[in-house]
Chain length 220, copies 2
């Protein structure tokens, strides 16, 4: 949950205060934001919410007293991740808008060119780190979905399954934005490190997603 630079001058819209229908309208529109990055944040947050739901239903169920501590621990982590991913929805919009604004800066003089290039690089870093943070958080949601799916109340195990599917789709979605923005960074060492990390996250998440889905189907 670290490594995301501070918010730029471009204000982040509080998209998550929109109704679902309004959000879908804005997503479908010609406007570049909200786009896939925001959809990724929402899918990740839905994954975390579903993990919490499995914990909440399991807590207090007769016969499941022995998993209470585990369900409380999973829920605490899931709720922190849900809050983090919800914040990233607006951060993604702000990062993308800042990048577009940087590209539109004047480039008539050498001074302006230098300032524009620096602004683009700073915005590209942010537009790489926000989806990377989203992918990291989704990997943690997937791990929590496994714990909820393995031990949670059988009657809601399918919700843990939907949670892992949502978090996995979110992780791969966020990865697309890292794949786009990291290679344009001038700092090639940083770019390589970001790409190495995201490739590792995508690879392990895909294996884990299938493992948890299979586990959930076995408990239906």
């Amino acid at each position: 949950m670290s490594g995301v630079p501070a918010t730029s001058d471009v204000p982040a819209m509080s998209i998550t205060a929109d109704s679902i229908e309004q959000f879908l309208e804005r997503l479908a529109s010609q406007a570049p934001t909200p786009g896939g990055g925001s959809a990724a944040g929402i899918m990740g947050a839905m994954g975390a919410a579903l993990v919490s739901m499995v914990c909440n239903v399991s807590l207090g169920k007769k016969g499941l007293e022995s998993i209470e501590t585990e369900m409380l621990a999973v829920r605490a982590e899931a709720e922190a991740l849900r809050a983090h991913l919800t914040t990233l929805v607006a951060d993604d919009v702000a990062a993308f808008d800042a990048l577009m604004a940087a590209y539109k800066l004047p480039k008539n003089t050498d001074d302006e060119k230098q300032q524009r290039a620096a602004a683009i690089q700073a915005s590209l870093t942010r537009a790489t780190l926000v989806p990377l943070a989203c992918a990291r958080a989704c990997a943690q949601v997937i791990a929590l979905a496994r714990r909820a799916g393995e031990q949670g109340y059988k009657g809601v195990v399918s919700d843990a399954g939907v949670g892992v599917l949502a978090a996995h789709a979110a992780l791969r979605s966020a990865a697309l934005n890292v794949f786009i923005n990291a290679p344009a960074l001038r700092d090639q060492t940083a770019a390589a490190a970001y790409l190495e990390e995201i490739n590792a996250l995508v690879a392990s998440a895909s294996l884990e997603n299938e493992a948890v889905y299979t586990l959930v189907r076995g408990r239906l």
Copy 2:
């Protein structure tokens, strides 16, 4: 888009009028609805919205005049599917709530037992057909995401990628509810047909999801 029985006596809540944050709160809560089925509908609708976005950005772009007819056709289908999937969010809640209500019907007399069993079977049919309708719609969204990803403006091709990931996760999520409810149907011929259809949808969607993701990554 057919085969879903008429709404039961249990009113469908218009969840999609909730803010995203409110929806996430309700998803995380102990209440059985909204749950994974509603999350599936929203993911599917986000997938359709992202396909529309790719079309909307591509329409009117210089150099892309030759794909205008195709983008208009894809957008028209995507918008119809978005509306359908948005409706299914509330339908899923209504179907699940009706099933729970049927299980709670009195069963003291033979007459009551018979009425309860009939109500459960009717509700189970609906709780199978709603997610099956969701999965069918998501398969169509995936096909549209391919067309948008193949031909749409390169600058938003990642949004087609997120669209296919969202629709695929939604389809597999909806499938879990078919796997749960269909086997409990007394009409084993109908149950077998529903399971055969959902298994075929899951299998082809998984292949298509990877194909479109690879296609999108190649155009980034």
